[in-house]
Symmetry: C2
């Protein structure tokens, strides 16, 4: 079903008329609460109660059925037993209703029968062209229409935050919490079972809502992963999208066999999805609101440089620690600022950041400090910390803060600490959009996340490279594999696939006897390396199982005999498969490059330190394909072992450009072929800068 | 000065008489606020205002000086200009005052002159035998005496939490916060500059205070690191000690040259100190209070198994996620419990954990669920989650929670979410000691930390091993090093030190020419390994720079020539020092074992994955020496690479016992010799189980 974003908004949030199907006056009935909330919310449209049991509800004419209504209402609120919903939806369709909010429970969430009921209902609604929110939801509210069509006990205050929740109960709790904390909403949406309309539809609708400047969401699952990524990335460009994702710790269901698959997990896929889409992640439910408050009140900081003004040392240290942990920085004030502060503040004051205006500071000293600091070009955000001391005038200082912050483009947060003695001050500052945090850490957490949004906005649009590749060759390999009833490629097939996508592959041959060994040497070309091939012998060099720099057949014969003899001596019980003959590579570092296809978000790429340490040290990073060059560089920089690539301990730097190109080619490969479920290149041997890199071993698994 | 803990308590917190030096009626004067607070707090002892300017203050006779007082008060509160404090302390000494709280600022915190002033004052107080709290502090309070001798604007509510703060301002803010959140204190202590009495003194005093059951502290620095560890470890056995340590991100000042020194840092030293002493770490200022609230209200959970009872799915998922992240677990309910719940709860309810009593649950369903879950032997703690829905009766449910939790030895936390609609419920539960958290994550964080305290209490007393060692040999080596004007040992000296402490050392000799090489082979004994020795060649095996299994002189000569030739070929510009001749070791894994002496807490031991990856991958763990066998095992288990030691990918397990013994011997060495500043054994080559381990390279740096 194609959904028109603007139209959706009108039908759901601004209906000219709505029907309340299941309206009632009976105490304790949800149908009563919804109707009361609608009537009390100041809704200016027409309300049609529908219930065959009553002639009148709350002095409004009550209709026996939707068919009896004098006009087709845009929206139907449905609050009747689950088993009757199907019939009512059909009536709605016949009467020309375009949107419905189904509050009734008893569907997918309640077992097999409910699941079946929902399936039938979805098909019906689709056929009739009715857009459905729910079922099993709390309703919707819009504070600008105004309309509160929920059965929540608290009403949303007006504001600029749109909040959607997949849990109705959590939604109610949050309404109560936000009322107490004076956070206002533009819209409140309870998603329920997401039978039809889901988070992506709502994001699209909210993108164009002039009353919404921040979007916050509590989600348990994403309905359409790839669409969600696309929509969120677009919406995030104009409005911050803050998401608390519940249930992230649950592991994915599909069995995996690759290193990448083992390390990927749904948590890494989610993290990559958030990063890619620009969605801001709330780590705790409370953060949803901290962040919504921060974004709706203040501009995000242009940079990481924060100045702290405080009337006490302790909270200044706490704030500094928190800033450092959050990856923000204490702004270095200009000489002009410090000189000015030095002249005007008492001698014992600290004129560096944190600026300490001292325990006996009145509002005047705060003004002095704030004015110079806000004017300082080296400051992106200001945190005003106040602890109530003998001389402290919290309320007066709040007025000064409100005054100085007004019209500034810099982020200003207050941290007035304490109890009831600062609540008047909080009210004054809230009036002008300066949120107060009771603890420095909360302010810093919020700043950190707002700064992440600035970073997202300034992130360059990704430039995607496409390489000329031989796609048909990959098709051929996959066909052969399939024909043979396999879904895992053997090494030679994987090698062909990589070559078709321009990935350099190290020449390696397994020789199970001396004759094959000599042949391999000739084929690969000298110099070569010989390695013992045995599943039991991992530290081959320790037992004389590797000989390098073999220049000719004579040396090759000696080497073959030596490594097999050494292996038998040190590991008498090992299975010896033979030897590997490989082209001799100059000194190299080992990476892993891989992909695991996530069931929700698609191809999840991984880079990391390769070799046997992969799963032990987990020095890996993830992004969703397709990736840009910049994203690959970010992936590599996230690795602790990036230092090794740059040239640790006097080594020459490795060919990082070649690694980037390889990852881009893998990205193209797994994007072109959705049937690839898992891919591991391990190790990718990276040579010195300018000399390239080579896949020494690869695994590819197709979907079954 | 020897301090008697019990005596200290009496003088400071329960004085029979006290003098307020600097008492005043003048508005805005700190001396007035302190006196008023004392008089308003219900203090039953005698109060002597002292101030030469007044004959009477607040209807009390005011004395011109301490010398004029009719008796010697136990305690002097000093609130006069800094420059007059010295004289007053001398008078106090002459008059027989035993304890003083110096509120006056203008000492160490205010620059060079203040620093000098404090030094003289400290010497005077010491000479006169006066115990001093402060200077530059907010004062003290004791709610059982009762006495509030602070200049804070809020008064502490009575309770069982003792709180000390190194920041007076933060202390005041916290008093305000705790009043609003109904958290009660037994004592409130502002430490100020800690000229004399410090956190360790206060901990000793609080250990014996019958009114204190939880100790919380805000600290910026620890005055006597090793005493603090000892005192905290003792006090923690009877009362939880919760500490927020500010300023942890500051790096230590001393320049370091070892791997261990580079990786240690003050953060790791603090973490090790907390672990060793049993102190519980608050990561945010707010946590101090969450934890104090949790501990003062509820018993710590006996184990990690938590049962969640909820009336909505969403918050149940949030709680489950938080429990998993915190390392706690969802309790598996017994069949008896689930069967009972199955019979009594509606069909749609979930009878597994989280137990979902459904959105329409009244108080009765909560009672049913709580009673069975609390009785379940598989449950250590219960979290009662409630969101306000249409049928919810929060107040009634709170009574049920209070009723069911009464007398239970299990930890019971409430998470009633929402705003003002649940505040009556909160009051009811608070009365009976059930804290309510507004968000599941806060409850889980608190549980996690309380569980850590249970773990500390059940931690076996450490059994310390002492090995027979040749201490005098180490003395001799250090003397020689010192005589030669060095503080870093050369390799052969470090080797001798390790051998004297029974640490196995791999035999290695550097040969700068062929003659030396042959001599080394004979001395070490065949088979040997030859390795190229060049600072530029790190991946020796890649370039044919290592030859193993050399059985005789002929093979040794060939090997010498081959490795030097290979090195010249691949690295024409490298400095070639010669070759290392080393005894041939069987396959081994490489660890690092080291120590860096922390300026506050002493010898900080490190274990980790060795070799060139040490500083890149930072797979390391820390403990303060001396360590027990159990602590060393914990250190190793913390390593990601522990898996390698156990035998990853089919390898035989490594000799972990030998590693433990080596770390214990290093622990004894660095404890016996406080002059060792840094020590690195890297790599420690660990052979297969039963075959021991060998230090292949070692560095020791003495203090300068």
């Amino acid at each position: 079903m194609i959904k028109g974003a603007i139209k959706l908004l009108d039908e759901l949030f601004r209906p000219a008329a709505l029907a309340v199907i299941g309206a009632s006056e009976k105490a304790g009935k949800v149908g009563r609460v919804v109707l009361e909330n609608i009537l009390n919310s100041g809704y200016r449209g027409t309300v049609y109660p529908v219930n065959p049991s009553y002639g009148e509800v709350f002095s409004l004419k009550c209709y026996p059925s939707v068919s009896d209504l004098p006009e087709a209402p845009e929206l139907a609120m449905i609050i009747i037993p689950a088993e009757s919903v199907q019939g009512v939806i059909e009536e709605c369709g016949a009467r020309g209703v375009k949107a419905a909010v189904i509050i009734s429970a008893g569907f997918k969430e309640s077992g097999v029968e409910g699941y079946r009921r929902e399936t039938v209902l979805r098909q019906t609604a689709e056929r009739l062209g009715i857009e459905v929110l729910g079922p099993n939801c709390l309703g919707i509210a819009d504070t600008s229409t105004p309309l509160n069509a929920t059965f929540a006990t608290s009403s949303p205050l007006p504001g600029r935050v749109a909040f959607m929740s997949q849990s109705g109960a959590l939604g109610t709790a949050m309404l109560g919490w936000s009322e107490e904390n004076h956070l206002g909403f533009s819209r409140f949406i309870s998603l329920g079972n997401k039978m039809d309309l889901n988070e992506s539809d709502m994001l699209e609708a909210l993108e164009h809502d002039v009353n919404t400047s921040v979007i916050a969401a509590y989600l348990e699952g994403i309905s359409e992963g790839e669409r969600f990524l696309e929509v969120t990335a677009r919406v995030s460009r104009s409005k911050p999208v803050i998401i608390y994702k519940a249930g992230v710790t649950q592991a994915g269901a599909r069995a995996v066999s690759s290193h990448t698959g083992t390390l990927a997990g749904s948590e890494n896929a989610y993290a990559a999805a958030f990063r890619k889409s620009g969605a801001l992640r709330a780590n705790r439910v409370e953060d949803l609101f901290m962040l919504a408050q921060g974004f709706s009140a203040q501009p995000p900081p242009a940079g990481p440089r924060v100045c702290v003004i405080t009337n006490a040392g302790g909270p200044g240290i706490v704030a500094s620690d928190a800033l450092e942990h959050a990856g923000l920085s204490l702004a270095v004030l200009t000489e002009e600022t410090t000189q000015h502060l030095n002249e005007k503040l008492p001698e014992a004051a600290s004129v560096y950041n944190p600026v300490d205006v001292l325990g006996d500071a009145g509002a005047d000293r705060y003004r002095l400090a704030m004015e110079s600091v806000i004017a300082d070009p080296g400051v992106d955000a200001v945190m005003i910390v106040l602890t109530p001391q003998a001389m402290t005038r919290a309320t007066e200082t709040a007025r000064v803060v409100a005054d100085c912050a007004g019209g500034s483009e810099k982020t200003v947060f207050a941290v007035f600490m304490g109890g009831s003695e600062i609540s008047d001050a909080e009210d004054i500052m809230r009036e002008v959009g300066i949120p107060n945090f009771r603890f420095p850490e909360e302010a810093v957490d919020t700043l950190r996340c707002m700064k992440a949004y600035t970073d997202f906005l300034s992130r360059p649009r990704r430039t995607m490279v496409r390489f000329d590749v031989e796609k048909h060759k990959v098709d051929e390999v996959f066909s052969t594999t399939r024909e043979q009833g396999r879904n895992e490629l053997v090494e030679v097939e994987a090698r062909e696939v990589l070559l078709a996508y321009g990935l350099p592959v190290a020449r390696t041959m397994l020789a199970t006897n001396l004759e094959e060994c000599i042949k391999a040497g000739r084929e690969i070309g000298y110099p070569v390396v010989v390695k013992i091939a045995s599943p039991q012998i991992l530290h081959k060099t320790d037992v004389g199982g590797v000989i390098v720099g073999i220049e000719n057949t004579d040396e090759l014969i000696t080497a073959y005999e030596k490594v097999t003899a050494n292996a038998r001596k040190f590991f008498p019980r090992a299975d010896i498969w033979g030897v590997l003959v490989q082209e001799m590579l100059p000194p190299s570092r080992e990476l892993i490059v891989g992909m695991n296809r996530d069931s929700q978000f698609g191809p999840l790429l991984m880079t990391g330190l390769g070799g046997i340490y992969v799963e032990v040290l987990k020095d890996v990073s993830f992004r969703l394909a397709p990736v840009s060059e910049e994203e690959v560089m970010d992936m590599l920089r996230e690795l602790k072992s990036y230092w090794l690539l740059q040239g640790a301990r006097g080594e020459p730097p490795a060919d990082i450009d070649a690694v980037v190109e390889s990852v881009l080619r893998v990205s193209q490969l797994v994007t072109d072929f959705p049937e690839i479920n898992e891919l591991d290149i391990n190790p990718l041997r990276v040579l010195e800068d300018g000399k390239g890199c080579l896949a020494a071993d690869a695994r590819i698994v197709l979907e079954e």
